[in-house]
């Protein structure tokens, strides 16, 4: 628990954390996009997912954007979440749990031994695979911290720690989602 506390209790203000994350992710994406654009592979891509999966993915992205905007918007301003932002965050969290289940069911890589098939080419690229793992993994952490805090398990310090881990987990979800959307876009373009 104390190790978790050391990781979660960050002395930096959240504005700095968000700014740092934005700069790192932005720089990575720009540089990587330039590199990918310079070295395209022109692969053939076939649609693997059905309409339901695609709708679930789009909804998941939207819900995550709502969650991130309501949470990090307030953290950026240095205030706690309140009013309709909080209501939207809580309401969206239910949808997030459902869509997370759908996403893990439809999109988690099912093994690396089936990559010979041309319509699963996107799973060959490391960024698409690992960002998907990261996305589901961090989402589980973000969801677990809030679900656990609803149960009579943690004491006050534990609850405060869970809230911190929830924020860090939420940031990881956002970063993973950005990377995953980027990776999906690149693979759908057939460049990787």
């Amino acid at each position: 628990m104390s190790i978790l506390a050391d990781i979660a209790i960050i002395a930096w203000p959240w504005r700095t954390i968000l700014l740092t994350a934005t700069v790192i992710v932005g720089a990575f994406l720009v540089l990587h996009a330039v590199w990918v654009a310079c070295t395209p592979r022109h692969l053939t891509v076939r649609e693997r997912h059905g309409a339901i999966s695609r709708v679930a993915y789009v909804l998941f992205v939207l819900v995550t954007v709502v969650l991130a905007a309501t949470a990090f918007g307030n953290l950026w301003r240095g205030v706690s979440m309140k009013g309709y932002a909080l209501l939207a965050h809580v309401a969206a969290s239910g949808a997030f749990l459902f869509l997370l289940l759908c996403l893990s069911l439809f999109f988690l890589p099912r093994g690396t031994d089936r990559t010979g098939q041309p319509h699963e080419l996107e799973h060959r690229w490391w960024l698409a695979r690992w960002s998907a793992w990261m996305l589901v993994g961090s989402s589980i952490v973000a969801a677990a911290t809030m679900l656990v805090s609803m149960l009579p398990l943690a004491d006050t310090n534990g609850l405060l720690l869970l809230a911190q881990v929830h924020r860090v987990g939420g940031l990881a979800v956002l970063v993973s989602l950005i990377l995953h959307v980027y990776a999906m876009s690149v693979t759908r373009a057939g460049w990787r």
Partner: protein, 692 residues
């Protein structure tokens, strides 16, 4: 190497910050101390204000002066700048609003919250033209002395008044306020600091109420002697005329007299002072008693004390101080005048060992055995939205706010009959933000609606000096003692009773009236009362307007403002004209702390998140002073700055919370199952490929 720099910086900063306190601590050490935890037995000589040892057998002995008596071994000068004395010191951080000094004048229905500290919605006595002496005489009975009544404070006030008078004389005019401001410093002398009011041992015979009585009699210098019970004081300085000269021939005979109890003196002339280093709870309670109005009149046994006190703690365990007497107030973010950290003495600091995400030093955590709170199952967001006291302190949150009485405001300590409806009305337990910032957590507050006479000039309402108001309105109001009671007092003339009841029944005693007759009489009395109040109030407001030409007279009460409507009627000022002049003075409360099982939320989320939960649905009804006034109730969510519709949406959301928990956990566990199955599947595939 790089890691050393932040530490060096921290150490340097600490040294800079610590330098001042260390210097002051050194300054405190110029007096010898016993330093034994068993304390020091105080067999001491008494000294008068001239620093002369008192001989109790001498003819007409002077009263003892605690400043000179205690000051021989204690740094009284340093002590006299502590929290209870430094309201006038603008350099001392005001901190969050605290208990105001409420100027009471029941004759005119004036209950005005005052403070020299910069607390919102309180008035600074200096700006109302009150002299420091007036303030000391009015409030000194529930203060430990010195402070506003100290020599330097009174001298400053006198000098300011003299200068103002000279300026006014030069301009061939004297402001109306100055005529009524009183300064009898030359007769009473300064208000002495009485160490014993806090440091007496309960049961030692010291009587704080004797102190109060002496201050009310303006026997400032005699109050410590009378309160300590070492002598009896006869005489009343308040009966001396304003032009009385204490230095004149024969004047001494008219001043109060002290007769010391010789049995209290040892053969060597020393007196035993039964005192304690750490003030007892009872000493604090004398000025800081706040209790439900329902607890007066023999109902106190139904109410509990603060859990900390029941657990054996003392007020001074948390509200502690050094020799500088900067008593810890104990709220989050408090700044000590000398820079000491007080984080450990707030609720969070003591119970959690963590303030604003920073862990306190191990030596500051869990002091006095403070248990760590559990809050199991409480979403942590609540720690940002609510202060600790919101759920744990004050009266249990109900639809009606709890009416309260306070020692300083309602003169608890005096032996009189009370019914709990004494004015000014104070209500407690309203959960409100501390500041107007929408990010402020909710704190339980006490509220007091001011009532006073004022004039409005250019849209600004300025209260009148209460004595000035009394002089102007007393003839019109025809009130001797109690504005609310006497203004409402009506007696139907016999002719009117005859008209209502008929000649044969008009002389019948009240007990023999029929219900219908009683109802008719009550209706006629109500009508008469209404016209009496209106008539006298209009006359009073007219009297003020005569004295202040070109300005509109206003009476503020119960959150409303009243002005003259022509020559016969009263009308209410609209909100725009009234501004914030009638807004309640509100200040957060921290006690009594209730047991955890009585905390708000102990019975689950629906304590607050349900359609009729008091937290967002209670109505705050101002308490009015003007008889027959019906102040409009204000929904609490408006004072909280909370959107009512939003609160209702939350309540609806919480209707399905239990189901959400079950379904949410179900989906979450299914997701975890798929995730770990996928992990195992992929790892299996990986090992299979490696093996092949």
């Amino acid at each position: 190497m790089i890691r050393i720099f932040p530490r060096l910086l921290k150490v340097s900063l600490w040294c800079c910050l610590a330098w001042q306190p260390v210097e002051q601590v050194t300054a405190q050490n110029r007096f010898a101390t016993s330093d034994n935890q068993s304390g020091y037995v105080h067999w001491i000589d008494l000294y008068d204000a001239n620093n002369t040892r008192i001989d109790p057998n001498q003819e007409n002995p002077p009263p003892y002066d605690p400043g000179k008596t205690c000051g021989r071994c204690h740094d009284v000068e340093q002590i006299a700048h502590g929290w209870h004395f430094n309201a006038l010191d603008s350099k001392v951080p005001a901190g969050r609003p605290g208990f105001p000094w409420v100027w009471r004048d029941p004759r005119t229905g004036t209950f005005l919250p005052l403070s020299y500290r910069d607390w919102a919605k309180s008035w600074n006595p200096d700006r109302l033209g009150m002299t420091r002496w007036e303030v000391a005489a009015h409030f000194g009975g529930y203060l430990p002395g010195a402070g506003v009544g100290s020599g330097p404070s009174l001298a400053t006030s006198s000098m300011a008044s003299t200068e103002q008078r000279e300026v006014a004389d030069d301009a061939d005019q004297e402001t109306e306020e100055q005529q009524f401001a009183t300064d009898r410093t030359a007769i009473t002398g300064p208000l002495p600091l009485d160490c014993m009011i806090c440091h007496h041992r309960p049961g030692s015979g010291y009587s704080p109420f004797a102190w109060t009585e002496q201050i009310e009699s303006q026997n400032f210098a005699y109050a410590p002697t009378a309160a300590a019970g070492i002598g009896t004081v006869t005489g009343n300085t308040s009966r001396l005329r304003d032009d009385f000269d204490p230095a004149a021939d024969g004047a001494a005979d008219r001043l109060p007299k002290v007769a010391y109890d010789l049995n209290r003196f040892r053969t060597d002339g020393k007196v035993f002072f039964d005192l304690v280093r750490k003030p007892s709870n009872d000493a604090c309670y004398y000025c800081h008693t706040n209790m439900p109005a329902a607890a007066v009149g023999g109902q106190r046994w139904l109410h509990d004390e603060d859990v900390h006190l029941r657990a054996g703690m003392q007020c001074a365990d948390c509200h502690r101080n050094g020799l500088d007497h900067h008593t810890v107030r104990g709220f989050a973010g408090e700044r000590h005048a000398h820079g000491f950290s007080m984080a450990a003495f707030s609720c969070q600091g003591c119970h959690l060992g963590e303030v604003d995400g920073r862990r306190l030093e191990a030596s500051n955590v869990g002091r006095l055995g403070a248990p760590r709170p559990l809050h199991r199952g409480l979403p942590p967001l609540h720690f940002e939205k609510l202060s600790c006291t919101a759920c744990h302190s004050g009266p249990v949150t109900e639809q009606e706010l709890d009416r309260q009485v306070n020692s300083m405001i309602h003169r608890l300590g005096e032996h009189v009959k009370r019914d709990g409806d004494e004015l000014p009305g104070i209500v407690g337990g309203a959960l409100l933000p501390l500041t107007s910032s929408s990010d402020s957590p909710l704190y339980p507050h006490r509220l007091l609606w001011p009532s006073y006479w004022a004039v409005m000039e250019k849209g600004t309402i300025q209260p009148l000096h209460p004595e000035r108001a009394y002089e102007l309105v007393r003839r019109a109001l025809r009130v001797r003692r109690d504005f609310s009671e006497e203004l409402a007092e009506v007696r139907l003339p016999l002719s009117q009773r005859r008209e209502i009841l008929g000649d044969s029944r008009a002389g019948v005693r009240e007990e023999d009236w029929t219900d219908e007759e009683r109802q008719q009489i009550r209706a006629a009395e109500a009508q008469l009362r209404k016209s009496q109040i209106s008539e006298r109030m209009v006359a009073a407001l007219s009297a003020i307007e005569e004295a202040y030409p070109g300005q509109q007279a206003v009476y503020i009460s119960g959150g409303q403002g009243f002005v003259r409507d022509g020559d016969t009627g009263l009308k209410k000022l609209d909100r725009e004209q009234l501004g914030d002049a009638a807004d309640p003075y509100k200040w957060p409360l921290a006690h009594n702390v209730r047991p955890a099982r009585q905390a708000l939320g102990a019975d689950g989320c629906t304590d607050c998140h349900r359609a009729d939960a008091p937290l967002f649905n209670m109505e705050v009804r101002p308490i009015a002073v003007l008889p027959d006034q019906q102040p409009a109730a204000v929904p609490i969510h408006r004072l909280q700055g909370i959107d009512r519709q939003l609160a209702e949406r939350w309540n609806r959301l919480f209707g399905g919370r239990e189901l959400f928990k079950v379904v949410g956990w179900g989906m979450f566990l299914a997701t975890c199952g798929i995730f770990f199955a996928a992990v195992v599947w992929n790892l299996g595939s990986y090992w299979n490929r490696r093996a092949s």
